[in-house]
């Protein structure tokens, strides 16, 4: 009985040490063995380009007053390394910038919590930097202008070793988000490990007087979450932009007004000068349609002329011996060769000096001793000697004068060409100013009538000179004549038939009969 009672008493007493030892063993084991990996949660962040490792004990009932951080790596056998700046710290985070240098490394940090000198907890966990490090947005400022915003991102003066060089752009990229209403634009400025200090990015081509919000963040290229920064908003300046636009509008209106005024004044001016008119016929000078004619003006139409064949008559110069006998030079004269128009040079030349020289010739008619008239140069082809249209044979000079003139001319021409008048191929064409002569209006009925010419200007003839009159009479009678016009049908009124008092060749004496103008 006693043994059974003693056995019952002994059993609880034996259990107490066992339990106590077990408990103690467990506690010691818990303390001495590797810390429980699940008692702590690590959080690694890149904050302002600083690697910050923060932690939080899962058992919130345990609140240490001090912490000590140590770590090791998994890529190689290495011992525990204590972070010198994180020994007996009261904060629950530690700056590991330039301590942890590899992004691809797997680290095993250990945190030991103390209360006083008593160690309360020791926890560890693995941290794979590339996957577990979160990227906090950088600090930045924005400055709004009229149509653009300057975004100033603050970079540290020194980039962490783990992001230096090309590593930064390999693992992350900077993103600037611009929002206006429901429209979101993303900007990705290029950065690298050499980007330090204040980095300014300009968002341009914005609408003035509009509200814009900007957010900046880092985007991991591997895996990981994006942490956007709080939005910073600004309203762009409206004043200068709208004023400038209004001034542009006003300037445009004024410009248009000036253009319209110039256009209208031009129209009015053109109308006044006659370019613009209701009539269709406007001055020829303003006829621009015939541009070719304007550029290359047409030559004035040639006057209807007939070509006279010049027959050179070579004869001696006869000196007038003041005899009024028969001075017919018919023997010495070669038969004047008739031209196609029925005119010859003989006599006709005396009749038909140029207008410019007609007066001189006429003067020489009365003065046979006068020098040769100022005849046109044979080389002057610009004023060829031509017989114009028909004209009367009548002239104010006598035939003698004609002869003399003809002699002079012939002599003049003979100088240049001594060819025979017979069959001479040389032809001299001369122009006559019809304004100074009387011409014959050639009718169809009088087509056979050879054109005649009276090329003696009226004012140059002095018919009252009796010498001239006599000479002409004598010539007319003596020659009986060989009129300068071979056509016998020519009717001429010789001066004897006309009263001498009426020497003035007035128009009243002009009688147009059969196409001839007679006096």
């Amino acid at each position: 009985m006693l043994l059974s009672q003693n056995a019952l008493a002994i059993r609880p007493l034996n259990l107490y040490p066992v339990v106590f030892i077990s408990l103690m063993f467990g506690i010691l084991h818990a303390l001495s063995d590797s810390p429980d990996e699940s008692c702590i949660a690590f959080n690694m962040t890149l904050r302002n380009f600083q690697s910050i490792l923060s932690w939080e004990l899962k058992n919130r009932s345990i609140v240490p007053t001090h912490y000590t951080l140590s770590y090791t790596v998994m890529s190689k056998p290495a011992g525990e390394m204590v972070v010198e700046d994180c020994i007996n710290i009261t904060r629950s985070f530690c700056d590991l910038t330039d301590v942890w240098e590899s992004v691809s490394e797997t680290y095993l940090p250990t945190v030991v919590g103390f209360r006083g000198n008593t160690m309360l907890v020791s926890c560890w966990d693995k941290v794979f930097v590339a996957l577990d490090m979160s990227l906090e947005p950088p600090e930045f400022e924005i400055v709004g202008f009229i149509n653009h915003i300057d975004v100033i991102v603050k970079f540290p003066p020194v980039i962490p070793k783990m992001l230096v060089g090309k590593n930064l752009q390999t693992y992350l990229s900077l993103v600037i988000e611009e929002k206006s209403g429901s429209i979101v634009n993303l900007h990705r400025p290029k950065i690298d490990g050499n980007t330090t200090g204040n980095f300014t990015y300009v968002i341009d081509k914005l609408i003035p007087n509009t509200n814009y919000c900007v957010s900046v963040y880092f985007e991991p290229k591997n895996l990981g979450k994006i942490h956007r920064s709080p939005l910073k908003c600004t309203r762009l300046q409206p004043g200068q932009e709208s004023e400038s636009s209004e001034s542009v509008k006003i300037g445009g209106i004024i410009t248009l007004f000036l253009i319209a005024a110039v256009f209208i004044s031009t129209i009015i001016t053109l109308k006044r000068i006659g370019y613009i008119c209701l009539r269709h016929d406007y001055p020829k000078v303003l006829n621009f349609y015939k541009l070719s004619a304007w550029v290359f003006p047409e030559l004035p139409p040639l006057e209807a002329v007939a070509i006279v064949e010049v027959i050179h008559i070579n004869r001696k110069k006869k000196v007038w011996d003041y005899e009024y006998g028969d001075e017919s030079d018919s023997d010495n004269e070669a038969v004047p060769r008739a031209s196609a128009g029925g005119y010859t040079m003989h006599g006709l030349t005396g009749l038909c000096p140029l207008a410019s020289t007609s007066s001189a010739s006429l003067e020489n008619c009365s003065n046979p001793d006068a020098e040769e008239p100022d005849l046109p140069e044979p080389g002057v082809e610009s004023e060829p000697l031509m017989t114009p249209g028909p004209g009367p044979c009548q002239s104010e000079c006598t035939d003698g004068d004609y002869e003399r003139r003809g002699n002079q001319l012939q002599g003049h021409f003979s100088e240049e060409d001594n060819s025979s008048t017979e069959g001479s191929e040389d032809r001299i064409v001369f122009n006559v100013d019809l304004n100074s002569v009387f011409v014959r209006v050639q009718d169809d009925d009088d087509a056979e009538v050879p054109p005649m010419l009276s090329c003696l200007p009226e004012e140059a003839v002095d018919l009252e000179d009796p010498n001239e009159m006599e000479t002409s009479l004598l010539v007319a009678s003596g020659e009986g004549t060989q009129p300068p016009f071979p056509n016998p049908s020519v009717e001429c009124l010789w001066p004897e038939d006309a009263p001498s008092d009426e020497s003035d060749t007035s128009e009243s004496d002009v009688d147009i009969g059969d196409g001839y103008i007679t006096r």
Partner: protein
């Protein structure tokens, strides 16, 4: 005749370079996606307490310095990239039981690697037509092969234990991040060229 052939060769080179440039951009875009997926899938592998495996750590001497992505040409970078992915694919394709890794995750991981390897092989074939630089590429490939030989030898020595796989998983993570840097380097070169 020679001129005609020369002209044809020049045309082929120009066309192939253009095609290669476009192909490279597509391949690199795909590579970045494969890199992210591979890392995610690999880290779903449940391993034993890493604290227990600290005594089993080993330095496999990843040839980072000798195969620094910033030091060699585009063709060599492609060769190194291809060799690394090929070795990773071979490592996990072997019928080695991996406790703690779901079969679906493993299959997806291998499929991603296989598709990317096909893209790279087509690209490398096109690159090889343009220029010959096989000697330098072979040397780099050999270094990568030796590195993975060391990993396989370690697994065999550790009898493919849980801790061994834990250590290998950590090492393959480093490889994939090396591939990340290589891809970034090729992208930069592709944009510059």
């Amino acid at each position: 005749m020679i001129k005609k052939q020369f002209f044809e060769i020049v045309l082929v080179l120009l066309a192939s370079s253009a095609i290669f440039s476009l192909e490279l951009k597509l391949v690199l875009f795909q590579q970045r996606r494969v890199n992210r997926e591979s890392l995610k899938l690999l880290n779903k592998l449940q391993t034993s307490s890493i604290q227990q495996c600290l005594p089993h750590r080993k330095n496999f001497l990843l040839p980072q310095k000798s195969v620094n992505p910033h030091q060699y040409q585009k063709g060599h970078a492609l060769a190194v990239l291809h060799e690394m992915l090929q070795q990773i694919f071979n490592l996990f394709r072997a019928n080695i039981p991996l406790d703690g890794w779901e079969e679906s995750h493993k299959e997806k991981f291998l499929i991603e690697l296989h598709q990317q390897l096909e893209y790279l092989e087509a690209l490398i074939g096109l690159e090889a037509e343009q220029k010959s630089g096989t000697l330098g590429s072979e040397n780099l490939r050999l270094q990568v092969k030796m590195y993975f030989r060391r990993i396989l030898d370690y697994l065999e020595y550790q009898e493919y234990s849980s801790c061994a796989w834990t250590i290998v998983q950590v090492e393959i993570n480093r490889c994939l991040l090396f591939v990340f840097r290589l891809t970034g380097k090729l992208s930069t070169q592709g944009m510059d060229s």
